[in-house]
């Protein structure tokens, strides 16, 4: 069983296949850099919310959610560094703004 895994949820049409591949590699690389996990052991899945089915603040959403799960947990200092790096890299690759991204790193 993988210690770290990611599930990424995006609004339909916002993140293409090529970009998903780059985002997955980035998540795996950050996980290796921060937590020491081999990229091959970090599964990343993507799912789309169809147009008209996702809202934020009562309006149609453009937000992506990156949910990380970490078996055994990590300290809060490491978690914040981990989430910050994911946030920065995701924005760099996708071009989204900081207000269009939610990142979580949950102990499992």
């Amino acid at each position: 069983m993988s210690r770290v895994s990611f599930n990424c949820t995006m609004q339909e049409g916002q993140v293409g296949e090529e970009m998903r591949a780059r985002l997955a590699v980035a998540l795996q690389q950050i996980t290796q850099d921060v937590l020491g996990e081999s990229p091959d052991d970090v599964p990343v899945t993507f799912s789309d919310i169809p147009r008209g089915f996702g809202f934020r603040g009562g309006e149609p959403s453009t937000t992506s959610l990156v949910r990380g799960s970490i078996v055994g947990g990590i300290t809060q200092d490491v978690r914040e560094d981990f989430m910050r790096r994911i946030c920065d890299r995701w924005m760099e690759i996708s071009g989204c703004t900081v207000d269009e991204l939610v990142v979580s790193a949950r102990d499992a």
């Binding site: 919310i49 008209g52 089915f53 996702g54 809202f55 934020r56 603040g57 009562g58 309006e59 959403s61 937000t63 959610l65 809060q76 978690r79 914040e80 989430m83 910050r84 946030c87 703004t97 900081v98 207000d99 991204l101 939610v102 990142v103 979580s104 790193a105 949950r106 102990d107």
Partner: protein, 131 residues
């Protein structure tokens, strides 16, 4: 956060109702908790398989609010959903689960615990809502 996922049968809730539910949930959540509107996420998940009830509200919030606030919030949300969609009480169930705020980063900031929100956090939320 909060993240409200409405599990519904396929093609059962048209866009106008989904938009109305999303707005109502945002109003209710912010009215009950004081959270900025831009932090309220509502998604609809159409499923083919039936759950215990045909419609289900699966909410995820920051941990730390009183039982009274949580119960009122869930009751208000479910009431609004039923009123907008016409779904009966028998067809609809729901829950709100909670997780530590510090596990999530939104708007580039680690979420504060309920009751520990700063002016900076509120300001950022309002700016995001207006942007």
């Amino acid at each position: 956060m909060p993240y409200y996922r409405c599990v519904v049968p396929k093609d059962s809730v048209p866009y106008e109702q989904r938009a109305a539910v999303a707005k109502a949930f945002t109003d209710i959540h912010c009215g009950n908790t004081g959270a900025p509107r831009s932090f309220v996420h509502v998604v609809f998940d159409e499923v083919d398989d039936s759950w215990d009830t045909a419609y289900f509200l699966d909410g995820g919030n920051r941990a730390g609010r009183s039982e009274e606030v949580k119960a009122e919030l869930l009751s208000d949300l479910m009431g609004a959903f039923r009123e907008i969609t016409g779904v009966s009480s028998e067809e609809f169930s729901g829950r709100i689960t909670e997780g530590p705020a510090k596990w999530t980063m939104e708007g580039g900031m680690v979420l504060p615990e309920p009751g520990e929100e700063t002016e900076e956090w509120y300001s950022h939320g309002q700016a995001a809502a207006g942007g």
